[in-house]
């Protein structure tokens, strides 16, 4: 377990144990287990309907699990109503109270905790400072941009110094630039306050960029829970490999801990199948060189800024994406013969 937060001491551990939740015949959560270390930032990632939001809402108490237990800081909160759980939550959008100013929104939770006026005002001011909105304190929700609204929502959630911070796709309604900006800011603030955080998203880039650990979910179950690098380099299943980053699927033959593809050999990750397999290999794990006697021909070459991408068709008829340095792009033109060779990084193979 990796615990990256320097303020870990301030956070508490959170455990979701054997959660089950069904809607009619759909299993939104199916024996779902998740442990968050004190101060840890965990992202739940998955396609829509995989149960990630249900897991977060169960932890918030906004939804009752059919079975299972939830503990926060060692205390069983399964039967506790939401308002007694001591959480801060940021919703996807539109969660600010429209008839209150930014400051009044931030003060609301403090009022619920019966803090006096001066304390409230001080704390609200500090929190708006923290999210960089102290000049907008007297604005109403509709006078602010989507990004500003979400900052206020974050300030409001953190103002009550919650034991756990819950982020329910807080960035998905924002446009791309604001999204990256706010994403990094959320991480900065989380590291600063050290609150244990659960973040739900369908955007893999978001999850990989900010979380200590990322849990990939599928059909109500946790498919893999690991640090971003680990998840990318050593996916535990084809689903994870496909879901995270770009992946080529190439037919080959596996014997022992190696597999033959593209006329070369690659080491296999644990859990790989044997015999006739599909090897899941990343575009940057393949080399491409111009070669009249090669094993593929170029379909297209595109410039993507920092690097380029060559799409080629092998003689066996498989399409392969390869990442190349931008500088070498002029070497490739459609129809040209090339040789593709695996670089030798470990890959996952699934039996056919």
């Amino acid at each position: 377990m990796t615990v990256a937060s320097p303020n870990a001491a301030r956070g508490v551990a959170v455990e979701l144990i054997g959660l089950r939740r069904t809607y009619g015949t759909v299993n939104a959560l199916d024996s779902f287990d998740l442990h968050l270390a004190p101060g840890e930032f965990v992202a739940l990632l998955g396609p829509s309907g995989c149960g990630k939001t249900t897991a977060l809402r169960c932890l918030a108490g906004l939804e009752d699990p059919d079975a299972g237990r939830i503990t926060i800081g060692g205390r069983d909160v399964t039967a506790l109503p939401t308002n007694k759980r001591d959480l801060g939550m940021v919703f996807q959008a539109y969660s600010l109270f429209p008839h209150m100013t930014a400051r009044q929104n931030v003060e609301f939770g403090l009022e619920m905790r019966r803090q006096d006026k001066a304390t409230r005002a001080k704390r609200a001011g500090d929190m708006l400072d923290l999210v960089g909105l102290s000049t907008q304190a007297d604005r109403y929700a509709h006078q602010m941009s989507g990004g500003q609204q979400q900052r206020v929502a974050l300030a409001r959630a953190l103002a009550i110094s919650p034991q756990v911070l819950l982020l329910d796709e807080p960035l998905s309604a924002l446009d791309a630039k604001v999204r990256t900006q706010l994403r990094d800011e959320i991480r900065r603030i989380q590291l600063e306050v050290g609150t244990t955080t659960l973040f739900v998203t369908h955007d893999q880039e978001e999850a990989l960029a900010v979380a200590d650990r990322v849990g990939v979910m599928r059909a109500g179950k946790l498919e893999q829970l690991a640090a971003p690098l680990e998840l990318y380099a050593r996916p535990a299943s084809a689903f994870v490999a496909d879901f995270i980053g770009l992946t080529n699927r190439l037919r080959g033959r596996a014997t022992g801990d190696r597999a033959e593809i593209l006329g070369g050999s690659v080491p296999l990750l644990p859990g790989s199948g044997s015999g006739d397999v599909e090897v899941l290999i990343r575009p940057e794990h393949i080399d491409v060189t111009p070669d009249a006697d090669g094993n593929a021909s170029v379909l297209s070459a595109s410039f993507l800024g920092a690097h380029g991408r060559v799409t080629a068709t092998t003689d066996a008829g498989e399409q392969v994406l390869v990442q190349v340095p931008s500088a070498s792009l002029p070497d490739f033109s459609p129809g040209q013969r090339v040789r593709l060779t695996p670089r030798g990084d470990a890959a996952l193979a699934v039996a056919l």
Binding site: N83, M89, A93, S95, P98, M112, Y140, H142, I160
Partner: protein, 271 residues
């Protein structure tokens, strides 16, 4: 543009006619018509009209709002909601002759409900209450005020986002906190706006009262209509115009209140 010509002839000119004629008698400007409004008969009618409209607006608004909330908790595209909104859409404009008949058929001397009450031994001594402005007419008016409230208030209730309740809960608030601090303040401007609309609706209603009350003229619209039929009395028509002007003034005051309120809340209300 034909639009402007048309509305001038059939909307602007009539309005001007009412305003001007209220101050004219036999071709000469006069304050006599307006002064004639000072008579006890008209003042009583005006007072009763205002009380009736305010009472039905308030009761209708409260009952209609509760009904709207109840309906909003149902499935958004379910049968219950479609049924209630369609029914209310019809009933809200069901005022008039048929509505008066419906209540006479139910609460009149031979009425079905009167018969039930008689059997239960709870019948009032007479069924004449049905034709009094502050009893029967009030009940009948509620029959279109409650549905109207549902129709105009439901969109506001449905505009309450579930996130607001959830945010309140995560911040430590109870259901009561949610209603007191979040939902009610958010709904308040719409509620008052809808209530004012109900007021003008009842205030301008004529058909229902006309079909129900045939003897006296306890309400302003009935008195105005009275000036039409009694053309024998000279100058009555102009007094009718003065009464019409008085109605316009009342409605204008209500609208002014609405505008003022709207401006106050529009600093946070998004439309």
């Amino acid at each position: 543009m034909p639009f402007f010509v048309y509305t001038t002839v059939f909307l602007v000119i009539p309005t001007i006619v009412v305003v001007v004629a209220a101050f004219v008698s036999e071709g000469r400007p006069t304050l006599g018509n307006v002064r004639a409004l000072g008579n006890a008969n008209f003042l009583t009618a005006m007072r009763q009209s205002i009380i009736l409209s305010a009472a039905t607006a308030l009761i209708g608004a409260v009952v209609g709002a509760i009904l709207a909330y109840a309906v909003s908790t149902a499935r958004p595209d379910g049968i219950l909601k479609r049924f209630v909104t369609s029914l209310c859409g019809v009933l809200a404009q069901f005022g008039g002759v048929a509505l008066a008949f419906a209540f006479i058929a139910s609460f009149g001397a031979q009425g079905m409900i009167s018969a039930w009450l008689k059997k239960a031994g709870m019948a009032p001594s007479s069924t004449l209450w049905l034709y009094e402005w502050n009893k029967g007419v009030l009940l009948v008016y509620l029959y279109f005020q409650i549905p109207l409230m549902l129709i105009v208030f439901l969109p506001a209730v449905e505009g309450l986002r579930p996130q607001w309740r959830e945010a309140t809960e995560t911040l430590g608030g109870t259901t009561w906190t949610y209603w007191r601090r979040v939902a009610m303040p958010i709904l308040f401007p719409s509620f008052v706006g809808a209530t004012l609309l109900l007021f003008t609706n009842a205030f301008s209603a004529y058909a229902t009262a006309a079909a129900l009350v045939s003897q006296a003229q306890p309400l302003v619209p009935l008195q105005i209509a009275g000036t039409f039929t009694s053309e024998t009395v000279l100058g009555q028509a102009n007094i009718g115009k003065a009464m019409a002007l008085a109605m316009v003034v009342v409605v204008a005051i209500v609208m002014a209140i609405y505008t003022w309120l709207d401006k106050r809340s529009s600093k946070w209300l998004v439309r």
